[in-house]
């Protein structure tokens, strides 16, 4: 059935595809870490009783969650350098390069989603735990860092990873700013060698293996935490 196909093209392109995969994974991990840190801050702001904190945070989250990711990537690549030029008046100012602008775009976009996950995670910690922490004399920061967030994150690990899997798939959108991730690498080889079907089949298989393995990990983690509680 595949007699007309040439799967050798994959083998020849493996080093190039590998580089693309490293790029995809690197971008995923960095954006995840950045997104979780920023998302935690946003979640704490959204849960604050002070409007000065919770209004900007919920505005930010709602704006980004109602915007297509590809648009956010474009903004950071094309519009932010323009805005910087306008503000600083420096006509020679250039962008920060496609990688950094994509990384910032993903981090800020993911932060909005992580914010909502982490907010729910914090709220899932019983209020009695908060009371106990305060009753011992811990202040807000100590109660959060030592008592609330450790428990919240333990409950959240599976869903944080699930969001990471979605992010991993979404990183394929960086082709719009000319970056070569795994998908981009596969696409370039496919077009150069005229082997579209082979390369796209292979790319689909690789994405499937990575994402399926990761969801399996999530499932086993979920089972483990169910037992330990």
């Amino acid at each position: 059935m595949f007699s007309g196909f040439d799967f050798d093209v994959i083998q020849r392109a493996l080093p190039y595809l590998g580089q693309g995969m490293l790029f995809s994974l690197g971008l995923t991990v960095l954006a995840m870490l950045g997104g979780i840190v920023l998302g935690t801050l946003l979640a704490l702001m959204r849960l604050s009783h002070f409007r000065l904190f919770n209004l900007p945070a919920s505005g930010y989250v709602n704006l980004l969650r109602s915007t297509p990711l590809i648009l956010v990537i474009f903004w950071f690549y094309f519009l932010v350098p323009l805005a910087v030029k306008k503000i600083t008046g420096d006509t020679y100012a250039t962008g920060i390069g496609p990688f950094h602008s994509a990384l910032i775009a993903f981090t800020m976009f993911e932060a909005a989603y992580y914010c909502e996950i982490i907010r729910a995670g914090i709220q899932s910690v019983p209020s009695g735990q908060v009371n106990a922490a305060y009753a011992l004399g811990l202040n807000y920061r100590q109660a959060m860092m030592r008592v609330i967030l450790p428990q919240a994150f333990r409950n959240m690990i599976p869903i944080l990873l699930t969001q990471g899997i979605i992010l991993f798939q979404d990183t394929s959108l960086v082709y719009v700013v000319g970056l070569t991730d795994f998908m981009g690498a596969a696409s370039k080889i496919a077009q150069r060698d005229g082997r579209l079907v082979e390369m796209y089949l292979f790319a689909a298989l690789v994405y499937f293996v990575f994402c399926f393995a990761a969801s399996y990990l999530v499932k086993s983690l979920q089972a483990r935490y169910k037992v330990s509680r």
Binding site: P126, G128, Q129, N131, A132, A133, Y134, A135, L136, G137, L138, N139, Q142, R146, V147, P150, Q151, R154, S228, R229
Partner: protein, 242 residues
């Protein structure tokens, strides 16, 4: 030690505390009882500022709880509190539960805090459980750890919010024994409980609350011997004769 002056508190338009006034002297044990929903837990949570109140004032050791200038964490660190559901931190060992606030709030060294933790665990009969996690202990054991955790802060007074209500009957006594020992050692205690046996044994005074009001505030003998209000009489007859 604890002075509660004309406290009123509302949840929206519903008034949970109505003009409550009482006092706990140094070394005194005061038991607060009353039907559920009478506001007794809310009152005791106002004492260390876990629940805000809209009117009146509370001072503990001469320091005002409601004053925005008060360093509330510092004041709370001197007021031990024990909760109905223990509220041990499930992600820490028993020892770490007792050490956390000693290190973070009182600035003790880890060695000093651990030593204090082990001494207190011995006192509540749990020195062998030091390395375990709360989830591995029975309810009674968890509550005794919670008492040890509060005592580790060298509190000037202890608040107990229904400490035995979430326990299986066979575990109630091990917790009450620890509390009786504390009381006889002279700890100032305010205890919300239905355990009238405990009240008879160690209470100096009993406060009876109903519908957010302090209906009766009497010495133990007066309260059990001849309660003045009809509501207290009814309450006593319900919980003592069954």
């Amino acid at each position: 030690m604890i002075e509660i002056n004309n406290i009123s508190k509302w949840y929206g338009s519903f008034q949970v505390l109505k003009d409550c006034t009482t006092k706990v002297e140094k070394g005194e044990v005061v038991v607060v009882c009353g039907p559920s929903g009478s506001g007794k837990s809310t009152l005791i949570k106002c004492v260390n500022g876990l629940e805000p109140f809209q009117k009146g004032g509370i001072t503990v050791g001469g320091i005002s709880v409601g004053d925005p200038k008060t360093d509330l964490p510092r004041l709370r660190s001197r007021i031990g509190m024990v909760f109905q559901n223990f509220e041990l931190f499930p992600h820490m060992t028993v020892t770490d539960n007792i050490c956390l606030a000693q290190i973070k709030v009182l600035g003790r060294s880890r060695e000093e805090a651990t030593e204090r933790a082990l001494t207190l665990l011995k006192r509540v009969g749990l020195e062998e459980q030091a390395a375990k996690y709360p989830g591995q202990l029975s309810g009674g054991q968890q509550q005794r750890v919670a008492i040890a955790r509060a005592l580790a802060m060298d509190p000037i007074t202890m608040l107990f919010d229904e400490p035995t209500s979430a326990l299986d009957p066979e575990m109630i006594n091990e917790v009450l024994d620890v509390m009786v020992k504390l009381a006889t050692e002279g700890m100032t205690m305010m205890v919300v409980t239905h355990e009238m046996g405990f009240a008879r044994k160690v209470a100096n005074r009993v406060i009876f609350m109903d519908q957010g009001e302090i209906v009766e505030d009497a010495t133990k003998d007066e309260f059990f011997g001849s309660p003045r209000s009809e509501r207290a009489q009814q309450f006593l007859s319900k919980i003592l004769h069954h």
